[in-house]
Every structure is written in C-alpha cells, then in structure tokens.
Symmetry: C2
Subunit: 247 residues, 2 copies
DNA sequence: CATCAAGCTTAACTTTTGTTATGACAAAAA
DNA sequence: TTTTTGTCATAACAAAAGTTAAGCTTGATG
C-alpha cells in the first residue's frame, strides 16, 4: 500500500520491518479515489489529516483573482501532503488532481504515533518534509533565474529523478500526464512559449515527448544543459551517484 | 532577547510566561554577531543547530554555476532558520547577511526540549515553520505569475507586514536595507528593470523609497494594485484585519 | 576636504516572451 | 459515425524585460 513512500524513505535510511508495517497499516485505514482534474482540497478549507498519494499525480496550486494560476508543487506517488498543517486555521492554497488519484487519509493521531515512535521512522518523515521544502526553494530559483529552456529542462529532470526514486521510470522513459498548459502554469511561461521550448528540447535531441510518454535520451547531458544539480533532493547514495554521472 | 520571536508567535497564540522565559533563555545561551554582507552558512556545510535572528536582516540564497543568484527568502528579526534541518547531511543553499546581524544559536537539544514540552509553545513553533513554507510557496506564485510591477509591490507589502508583525515599522514607514541588485535577485528581474519599476511605484504615489527608508503611503491601495492577500502569513487577527481593510 | 567606489538613474537598443489567431489532430461525446 | 472539444503546433505581431553604457548621487575613506 505504502510501497512508494517506503521506497522513497529508504533513500534516506533503511527502515525496520515494523516501520514498514506501521506505514502500510496507516495507509490502509482510509483510502479515497478522486477522478482526474478534480480538487482534493480547496483554499479556505480547514486542514484535515495527512494525505498520502498512493497512485496518480496531483498538484498544489494557487489562483489569482483574475484567473492566473500557478502550480506550486507536484505530488507524486509516495508523497505526503501537509504533515503538520493541522496547526493552521485554513488552507492558503488548493490541491487538485492531474490524473485520477488514489490517496490514503492518515488521521492526525496516527501520524503523531508514527512520528513519536521509532526514531528511524520519525527522522525519515522529517527528511521527507525537509525535501519538500527544498524542492519549493529550488522552484523559486528555477522560475526566478533560469531561461525558458533551462526551466523546462529542469522541471523534466526533477520529475524524472523523483519518479525514478520511487521506481516509476522504465529505463529512460516515464509517464508525463501534464498538458502544455499545466507545464506553462508551473514554470511561469505562456503555453505557446512552452510549445516552442519543447520543440527546442526535441530538436537538440535531448528528449522525446509524445502523448504522455517522456523519454530523456541523455539525462546527464540534459542535467548539464539546464544546470540541474540533484543535491536538493537529498537522495543519499542515489543523489551522489547522479552527481558522479555528470562528470 | 527573543522579543521579536515572541511577538511573532503571539500572533498565533498567547504564550504563558514560562513559555516566554524558556524562549528567552534559549536565545541567551549563545549569540553571535556577523557583519553586513557576510555568510552565516555555506551550501555544502553540515547543518548545525537552529539560528534565531535577533537583529538585522539575512537571506537564504542559491548561486548557479555561472554566477546567477536567487534570493530564496528573507530572514527578519524573530525568524528561526531550519528548525529540523539537522536531519539532512548537507545544506543545499547558503545563508548570508544583508545588514549586520545578531543571532542566537539554539542547540538541537534545547530546541527539542522547547518543542517536546508545552503544547502551546510547540504548536507555535510548528506554526512558525508552516508560515515559512507558505511564504516560500507565495514567492513561487509571485515570480511565476505576476508582472514586474506586481512582483515588486508584493515583495514590499510582504516585508512591511512581516516587519509590522514584530513591531519594526513606524507608522507607514520601515527600514529597507536592500540594494536594487538584491531586489532584482529576489524577484527575478534585472537591476535596470527593478529601477524602472520602482520609478513606476513612486510615480503613482504608492510608495516612497529613499536611502534605506521605505514608506508605503496607502497600504490597502498597494495591496489591491498588486493582488497581495496576506492570508498566507496566517497572522490571525491581524491578517483578518488587513483583509477587511481591502474591501 | 578631496577622492573613490557603490549604488542609482536614464537612454538606446536587443532579445525574450506573450498574444492572438488559425489549422491539424485526436480523443471523447452525441 | 459525426460532432464536439481539448490539445498541440505554428506564424505574425506586440509587449515586456534584458543588455550595455553612460552620467549622476551619495556615503565611506584616506
């Protein structure tokens, strides 16, 4: 049930079988299925317990009064949303699905038990939330400093590496269920410019993208071209391995 | 000692005198003074205990290989950096000062005691770190979706409201120790364009900025003009008050 | 006080990115 | 099947933002 989360956490530390069992049972208590392009949480809602993405893609987003929308984060299988958010009075952003999503609602109390118990597991969960924050910071850098080409390439690298960390890539290929409009709202570009930039990435032979299938032909080359440094994902050995591939 | 932090936390909840004493003593244990435009923490360093800004401005930033720099966050008096970051192996970004800074280094163990003890205080500290994350998300929206005019105005609103929350504004005025180059690196614009945009904000009579003194003549008007909605700062009553001013 | 350096301001010009529009295509709905 | 709708692709043009360069202020320093 919590296989993706477990796989992700094990990049940070190895978990005991009790740890894994506890996670798995927490994920089993209450699951929910939401259809594609639907909202899970609305801005203004009272925060509930923690959601764990079991399957599918979701995103955090914020909408301005005039309709402009910014996608703030992607939530992939194994991602936890809002570990401690129940402290706040209301949500300041929404969470919506990209594809159909299965999620586990983990009650606050269960979460407390998990983080209060084994040091290993609670450290691993702290690590997950620190990595989430690090990703958010990197997005600020990405949108603030990089060119359109770099921004898009960087996003694709990140998504690919994160998916690979939970075993959701096949060789150099992964599923990419985003429309160009969604990509545009993610990296702060217009749809037309995203299209132009995708053509550019294709024409230099770094990627293929057809339908929902993304192939990154030479990941190391793409990383270099867009200055993607995976250290902010703190993937331990795998992160280091990627670094050395770069040289 | 921890007066600014206490004032900030009291926007969320009222603290007992034991809570305040505990914070004050934690802030007294080891303080450090760093001069202006100097680094506090370098990317690649091993994370240490928690730093509390007692006085002055600092910022988180990341530098790309070719020298481009993005300021990721501002750390103002009363701000805590990296409450739980010691879980990570190394820092993925740097922290530098803007002005001369006095900070308190709170050992991990002291921090653990503060968050493990009184529910009130530990909730307040959780709130502080959730607000930090919310600010980071809002910056993604700001840089991703807003025009230069809105971006700059939004930044000024945020800094003003955050300073006001710790009592560091005088009427419609506050200290703004940033150079235009630093502002540029914050909102992803060139220095020249920041200058142009500042002129625009001045010419429509929304702000004055001379030397280090920023005056926001009509905060509500500026908020409306740049779509600044302070709800993401979760300042409780003060936040709501601002909302109603908008109408 | 004079000198210097950093930061600010402005202009002219270039590049990047956004906008509008249109057609092709493909998947979903009637 | 036909129709509709959403997505992708491309072009032509417009607007926003970047670059380079120069002169100006101001505050620090000798």
């Amino acid at each position: 049930m919590a296989e993706f989360l477990i796989r992700k956490l094990e990049h940070f530390t190895s978990l005991s079988s009790e740890d894994k069992l506890a996670l798995d049972q927490a994920a089993r208590q209450r699951t929910r299925r939401i259809r594609s392009r639907d909202d899970i949480v609305h801005e203004g809602d009272m925060p509930q317990g923690v959601n764990l993405i079991l399957d599918g893609w979701a995103c955090r987003y914020k909408t301005l009064e005039d309709g402009r929308r910014q996608i703030i984060a992607y939530l992939l299988p194994g991602d936890l949303c809002d570990q401690t958010v129940s402290v706040l009075r209301e949500m300041d952003h929404s969470i919506g699905t990209v594809t159909a999503v299965t999620l586990a609602e983990i009650p606050t109390e269960t979460m407390r038990q998990l983080t209060a118990g084994q040091a290993r597991l609670s450290q691993a969960l702290a690590w997950e939330s620190l990595v989430t924050a690090a990703i958010q910071r990197e997005w600020t850098v990405n949108i603030g400093q990089r060119t359109a080409f770099e921004r898009l390439g960087h996003l694709l690298c990140e998504l690919f590496v994160r998916l690979r960390a939970v075993g959701l890539t096949q060789g150099t290929t992964c599923d990419l269920p985003l429309t160009q409009a969604e990509i545009a709202d993610t990296i702060g570009l217009s749809v037309v410019h995203v299209n132009r930039t995708l053509q550019e990435l294709r024409s230099v032979g770094l990627i293929s993208l057809r339908g929902r299938e993304l192939t990154i032909h030479r990941l190391e080359a793409l990383q270099r071209a867009v200055q993607f440094n995976p250290n902010y994902l703190h993937l331990g050995r795998e992160g280091r391995h990627l670094d050395s591939n770069e040289a």
